[in-house]
Amino acid sequence: MQKTPYSQLKATGIHKSFGHVQVLNGIDFTMDTSDAIGIVGPNGAGKSTLLSVLSGAQPPSKGRIHLNDQDITQLPARHRAKQGLVRTHQIPKPFSGISVFENVFVAAIHSATPNRSEAYDIALESLELCGMMHIANREADSIGLLDRKRLELARALATQPNLLFLDEIGGGLTDGEALQLVDTILTLRARGIGIVWIEHIVHILLRVAKTLICMDNGRILAQGLPSHVMANEEVMRAYMGGSQHA
């Protein structure tokens, strides 16, 4: 499937609320689709929700989203996926009834290419990338949590995205594993795939992210070069606390 080349994702005045709960109020943010952006923020800040809104899983209550100059605010997730905007889920949602390979293959054949053999290659490759070959034939239901997270990534990759939204795929990795993950991501970067990555383990994030966004209470607290953002004492207070472990 030929993906329309584009360069800019633009969200303006995004609000999201569930019943009474105001989760996002007034997010404005623009990115180059080849950028690597990291998002941090205290729990419940609205990061995942923002991701859902950008990837089309949930419509915003207010605000607009543009891809180049096309308004995709109402575009359902599946169409965005076909245009190359794909997200992973913080709480993994594997297709538990089918094998790991099939999980990835569905994505490939529906968003990357209708051609079977090509789809096979894509699926296998993204499994390879995420180091899941050894459990390719396992029923997805039977794999452990971190494998599930990897599966999320592999599945997203198989759609051959231009812009990847990653939601805490690094959580719970040992340093070694984390480094492997970073390498994987960097290879993707090398292919010009854009990344928006939510992660609490900042030092991993910083190996990839060129820009850092810190959210709190559904607002963008600070945005810009990682060093600046991390230095921002508001961020310190809201997010890092006294912690030295960054």
Partner: protein
Amino acid sequence: MLNISDLDVRYGQFRAVQGVSLSIIKGETVSLIGANGAGKSTFLRAIAGALPCHQGRITFKDENITLSSASHRVQRGLALVPEGRRLFSDMTVEENLLLGKTTNRDGEWTLERIFETFPNLVKRRTAKAGNLSGGEQQATAIGRALMSNPELLILDEVSLGLSPLVVDQVYDSIEKLRQTGTTIVLVEQDLARAIAFSNRAVCMLEGRIVLDKPCAETNRDEITQAYFGLDPSQTQEAI
């Protein structure tokens, strides 16, 4: 306090935990380290009674609990914060917490204490657990376990998905817990923190214990080596 002798846990014929022996003394803080898929969760779930032991023996406070039900173990004061939270997602945060004190063992943990410890939960008190953010869910899960006032608290991937601020809060509260004499076993992927916090490091690789030392005597590299299986010399030095 907790004695495990060559424990074997299987999924089908796949041995996820292979003849592990371990004994934990009252008041200890043990951090269990190991690569993804090493069998930590399996091991812990077996201790908590969520998985049947294929062979081996578990005694807790000199009582053989190898065959007793999970609920009985909680009754006796052994609580697990399961990996992946496992909240009752269509019940409110408060209800989830209250469920924690089903066994109502007495102790100082109450709803109020929990909400003090995790202030970010207060405003979500009546929200359905399923709608919480990842971190809020993690906090709720820990709170739920604390509500049973355990003597041995097992935390699988505690800090998973928690923002540094909250992580600090969590560790502070565990610290408090520790001072009250509670024994703690935790899985923490942040090595530095693990070593800093606990007084004993147990390292798993492919279902076996490959390293078991007081934190004072070990260091980062040794451990990293251990769980990539670089150094076979020190396999299985169970106590």
